[in-house]
Symmetry: D2
Subunit: 313 residues, 4 copies
């Protein structure tokens, strides 16, 4: 029985580039991991091994470093878009480019004097961006996101009134810890703008793209605030509050996908020792964990973020 | 601007269950991690926090243990299917269930005498299964797979004749190491069979399901053999050889998705020390790595395995 | 040839306990992983399997939770000391107890109103403590530390003037990135004080113990400051500057062990593309890495921190 | 208060080298991660930053690749010893060298025909070696080991008769799963032999060194057999049986350190569902875990393996 080739892509993954810019004695850094996936008319290399249409993955890696020098890294989204456009417009065989970026944040270490070249890695979460440029349609899809943002409420969370079947043993609770590690990916309405997808030497020649860094910071803030301020009857409710707040307060955001593991904190049973436990001592469990996933959309928008994108391992 | 709820699902992830069965002094084990995702009419819990239609994730965990006792674990696929059917048929609010299983393999430790209850964990790869049951259509989708299977050819791999652009510096080679870590996911043609999706107390009342364990072992064997026996001009060619062999020799397999990181082994440069290096000493690099991904389909089949399913982190 | 039993110890490792305390609507949390190792007259359990002198590891876990309730968690060191004393004084067969604690830090999420029960995990580093109580000598050894504190200087680092042998190819540099992940463990002079090791119901009845939290914060600050402010000719020089500053400015600290992986940032070679690279674009390498390890002692102190304690995997 | 420098060492860690040797169409591979730690008269580099006595860590990396070419990799121990001798005898400032090696095993993929150049990564455990050469004394210390060897007995394990205190709740059991991940490190009696520690161009000019590969395979076999064949009343008893068997049956082995996490498998509680559980369904827990550690010595030998060497993270 014969077989055929389906969707395929290739590129260099996890190129780790650090870009330093200097403002006199004050340095700025952007620290990225860049993963590139190119697709197009690539049947031959699969069927016969001919590389005549294949730009090597090593070249895509080199391009990351060269572009960091030539254009700097204004933001993960801008950098990814520039790379995506380059591959699609530079190689006839490449029709679509998807560039994923992870960014790692650093804080300044305060020092005496005007110099500013010392940094300490901040936080545990990673900022993410995925930019896809489809050369045929001239359209962009830009997804921003974060992963690994761990949060906890020590009260204002209840869980009761659920379905009980033969296998239900969980007791209801009116006060519990609610903790999760936020994995989020949101889609910007911006798609390159005027329908022609640009064609000059800039990125997106139509409507001006958003302020990517500002948008990301605001969205992260909305997610944190909604988590903290929602009196929660279920993690689903908290998820929806987070997602809808990000979309409602983010004019350029059409869709968000959230994947929230319920990091269970179980009350330690101290009764055998003659001790009470008025929500004071918890056991933090690793596995298994509840996993709550959902997409929140601006009314009228169509879902386009793949469900698997925020999947946990 | 109002928002709406899109696709959503929930359940307990990574429930670790070990099932022991005894044949006199000879024991058998199956060692699984089970992750459940349920979806259906779940708007209320997101919008108001009402759990009136929510079966707790804790219950889905309990069900895994109870089913392991009541029905045993004949195979990851069979066990996943049984769970999926249970949730969809048991709760009106649940319309679709997706059950993912990872299985960890063990070998026997040989001992004197008839007893057989000592085991050592085998291999580095993980067997995977994902079964989705759509109650509305009564249809099944069964994906089997593996991840983490690391393989290497120390010769019979070339790479040349590729596109060179301004950023290309890679030298061509006629003899290199080719190494990868196979991440594969294949879709079975079996979908429950007679169009009614079953309805009795078995799993899939239509056509009999495949021999899942036998099918998995054969497919793994085909992937290994195709990797070893293909004289490779590109990793894409090797990928296609692997995928097409799995489909052509697997009568019940309609589609396979492969994600192959090119685990680069660079020749150490020994010239500064006055030494040659005739493909003898290599540096095994971690990052970045080439990443080659493709779907191979039986002619006439439609692609249904999400591209993101075999994504590397 | 007969064998004999050497040093041995046992206990429960990685008990994850979260302690919440409430100050009206304002909550405080301490989030710990506690690992206990007990040793004493334990020959029988090894030789015959008799558990007559063995307090189960499950009990040591229970004790962690019970003590979190009964005494709270004033600091990792204080909590560890209380546990260590309990096991040594509570069981005749236990002569020495070593308690290791990892603490994970959380920041408050700012919210409107007086409530304070929302938190976000801070930073990537882990605070560590190891307290050993030797019942026979009545002496304490308290080690505080941190791991995973990642720092970078983008200039003020040189490397030249080193030994060249047949295998040396590294070019000298007058300006490079210096980055490392600080793994540090320091030993307090405090050992319980008056020579009797205490014996009442407090911890350490002799000299008052240090302010553990304050000491830890100050030491972390000194390590960061010394890293940032040292013009570095070698990572060893930076290490010594960090260690000596921590000891000189920490009156109660007699010794510090530092393990500093040199997280190499290599200048990307952009010459093939006709581009310069004036310390602007770097490739962040994972492996291999230089590893610099040393102990710094207060003059006259004897080294007691095991070299292997800060070993990287 | 002045400070002084204590023990210090430096070198390149985790150099990943793959050595291919060819026997016609049949290839052989050794796949290693090599970590080097050098110490000697290194005060100046710490105090002033002078590198005049410092061989760069980059050079130690280069030496690994060059030696793999020049001498091959007969075994991890032999390769480590050759490197250690080189650094100590080649640089006056280096007095002691410690070389750690991890080896990853590969199996052949069977193929038709005489060729043998296709491999699949075997097993989950890692073989380890640590060789220390002290130039002053001319003595060697060779430690061999393994980590990550996961084993399970589904019966023939009991746990009862233990101490009960106020915090003990664990029920006794006469039949449980016993599972662990073996982390072992054993010390060879061989120390270079005739007291002069060699001095020619071989490694160890005194007594001939053991057959390192054969010794390692036999020791691994003894550890597995003792685990499987011991009817266990406690994990300590099993540990001692494993250690003493390795030493008693390994004429050249004087000492072994074992670190055995008790990978708990708890019986799932199925009573709420009206189901029994006759040791059939278990929940495999991750954390916390019991941790049993001990040294077993040949009678008359002195302990020299650091307790921390086999520490789990």
């Amino acid at each position: 029985m014969p077989t055929v080739l389906g969707q395929n892509q290739y590129g260099k993954a996890e190129t780790r580039v650090v870009r330093v810019t200097r403002d006199g004695p004050v340095h700025h850094i952007r620290d990225l991991s860049v993963s590139i996936a190119l697709s197009g008319t690539m049947d031959e290399v699969h069927l016969s091994g001919s590389n005549a249409r294949v730009l090597p993955t090593d070249t895509t890696k080199n391009t990351v470093f060269a572009f960091a020098k030539e254009y700097g890294v204004a933001s993960p989204e801008e950098f990814a878009a520039r790379l995506a456009r380059h591959f699609v417009t530079g190689q006839e065989s490449i029709r679509t480019a998807r560039v994923r970026v992870e960014e790692y944040a650093w804080d300044r270490i305060p020092t005496p004097g005007p110099a500013g070249h010392s940094f300490v890695r901040r936080g545990r979460e990673t900022r993410t961006a995925q930019v896809t440029f489809d050369g045929a349609g001239g359209r962009w899809q830009v997804l921003s996101g974060l992963k690994g943002l761990t949060v906890m409420n020590t009260t204002d969370s209840e869980f009761h009134g659920y379905v009980k079947d033969r296998y239900t043993t969980l007791p209801e609770t009116r006060d519990r810890i609610l903790a999760t590690e936020v994995n989020a990916c949101w889609r910007h309405a911006w798609d390159g703008g005027d329908g022609e997808g640009g064609g000059g030497d800039g990125v997106g020649d139509g409507a001006a793209p958003p302020d990517w860094d500002g948008s990301w910071e605001r969205t992260r803030g909305h997610l944190l605030a909604a988590f903290a301020e929602t009196y929660s009857l279920s993690l689903q409710q908290t998820l929806y509050a987070m997602g809808s707040r990000a979309v409602e307060h983010g004019p350029g955001i059409d869709e968000i996908r959230l994947s929230l593991p319920n990091k269970h904190h179980f009350l330690a049973d101290l009764k055998p020792f003659g001790l009470g436990n008025d929500n004071e001592v918890y056991y933090a469990a690793d596995r298994p964990y509840g996993l709550i996933e959902a997409t929140v959309l601006r009314d009228g928008a169509e879902a386009a973020v793949p469900q698997e994108l925020t999947n946990l391992p």
